[in-house]
């Protein structure tokens, strides 16, 4: 469990990025954090493994204040995958990149080998095992960064903009994969601008704007709240926009799912109705 209590964070430049955030990420939760560029989303999640320490307030990981533990200790439980893989990758080969974290956490060589193989095949990277991360595409490098964190199997996985550079098929894989690791009992927190991806995943959604939390609830409530979304520079999902345009025809609000929309529209246009 991650508890954030009245968190303030000011960067050395003087920019106050987080201004009084209180929020709890419970065990086994799946949470998306959304909001405009500069809303403080990445700054907030960088507190979860102690890379950033509060200017004021506190962050507790399983009851332990992040100021009382090293980033290495916290990272064992909270794995953070950065937005920009280039801030994270440095090894000569993809395989070494994965092994690096494992070695630092004291895994044995046999275990390292097995985990590396597991995570590389899971993320469709096996063929790049011996390749340098830097010859890969941006989307592939993002998967290497994710693999390097997943390998040590932290309890909480924080993904900063995981869908950037991923094609449709990979996003669908990522979605299934995220739901699966969540199902297995890990918490997943993702920072993202990808409204359609959030609509497909349907997690708890926290909306930030100007360093504060301005909305927190189920995806179908938050993503259909046009006023809230516009405060945070978010555009509603296409399905929601569509039903909103047809709202005079008596369609319900709070719909973000393609298949649910299809069922509702079927009735409207008479598909599947005899006669």
């Amino acid at each position: 469990m991650i508890e954030v209590r009245d968190l303030y964070y000011t960067y050395p430049s003087g920019v106050q990025a987080v201004s009084g955030v209180t929020v709890t990420i419970r065990d086994k939760e799946f949470v998306a954090i959304m909001g405009e560029n500069g809303a403080g989303k990445s700054t907030l999640v960088k507190h979860f493994n102690g890379i950033l320490k509060p200017t004021k307030g506190e962050v507790l990981v399983d009851g332990r204040p992040t100021t009382k533990a090293s980033v290495a200790e916290l990272s064992r439980d909270v794995g953070l995958v950065f937005q920009n893989p280039d801030h994270q990758l440095f090894s000569e080969t993809v395989e070494e990149e994965i092994a690096f974290g494992l070695r630092n956490f004291g895994f044995g060589e046999k275990d390292i080998e097995e985990r590396t193989a597991w995570v590389l095949s899971l993320l469709d990277l096996m063929r790049y095992r011996k390749a340098s991360p830097f010859i890969l595409s941006g989307g592939e490098r993002k998967r290497v960064a994710l693999a390097s964190v997943l390998a040590w199997d932290p309890k909480v996985i924080v993904l900063d903009e995981p869908t950037i550079g991923q094609d449709y098929g990979q996003k669908e894989k990522l979605r299934q994969f995220v739901l699966e690791i969540n199902e297995q009992g890990r918490s997943v927190v993702m920072v993202t601008h990808d409204v359609e991806f959030v609509a497909d995943c349907s997690p708890r959604v926290i909306v930030m704007s100007k360093g504060r939390i301005v909305g927190d609830g189920e995806a179908n409530e938050i993503l259909t709240d046009a006023e809230l979304l516009s405060r945070a520079s978010i555009i509603p999902p296409q399905i929601t926009q569509l039903l909103d345009q047809l709202s005079d025809l008596g369609l319900p609000r709070h719909v973000i799912d393609l298949h649910q929309a299809k069922t509702l529209l079927d009735r409207l246009v008479g598909v599947g109705v005899e006669g």
């Binding site: 500069g38 920009n84 989307g139 950037i164 449709y168 601008h193 555009i235 025809l249």
Partner: protein, 311 residues
Amino acid sequence: MGCLPLEVSRGPGKVSSIELIRSNELGRESLSIVEAHDLSYTYPASEAPALKGVNLTIQRGEMVVLTGPSGCGKTTLCRCFNGLIPNFYGGELQGDITVAGLSIKEHSTSELAQHVGFVFQNPENQLFALSVEKDIAFGLENLAIPREEMRRRIDRAMDMVGIADLKDIAPFELSGGQQQRVAIACVLAMQPDLIVLDEPTSFLDPVAARNLFEIISSLNRDLGLTTILVEHRLDLLSTYATRVIVMDEGAIVADGAPREVFASKEVEALGIGLPKVTRLFRMFSEQGLSLGKPVISVDELAREIRRRVVK
């Protein structure tokens, strides 16, 4: 050398397309900016070719969206446009491709770069100076453009993307959307014939992304700037593109107007990220409910459904 007109058009006054067509270096009038014939390419130390027999003509003034699954060859194709392939990457190139009339086999990247500007996903990787105008000046300084000309081009580039008021601010202090506009201004100042943007809105929030696409679209529409956008998220730009090219396994598998391409069976089988409204439309079609031509926007689908509401 560049194809952009000297004056920025404002409001409804459009620059006539004829002004935008400059003769190429050989002195021939040419409407096409990119011509690829049977282009195949294999990276060094790689066995499988990354491009397989690509034939492609892009006309001046087009707004092309280049898409396809990761590893399909779209980035490789873009690397040919400024000659990074083969000049930097090496490898084996067969067939030919000319950009602004220059064969990439015969011209250096520094020559080709004067015709083709690149904007990448993450503006942070592209900007480095301590003020916006110094960042824009950098490319021009490298070409030893005279000071007066430089001043004029920088001001104009900033005007074109609406960042004149940011000129003294350091790029790292700007928002992602502003930074990306600076990156575009840097490229525009070089007066390219062609601008290639590789997922330029990935790091932007949805409103900033929409605003950026509108700027890119207006540069294309009002100034005739030939634009190639590499993008996975087709929902964001289906209404801006004049043409969508889909690649798979190193080859072009679909090429046409967004509406035609989104309707094609090949594209569906590839599983590219069709807009949700297009997918809904398809689901209706498969059940035998014809809603007319394939839809590419929320407005279109809403209209079609409204017309068919059972009272």
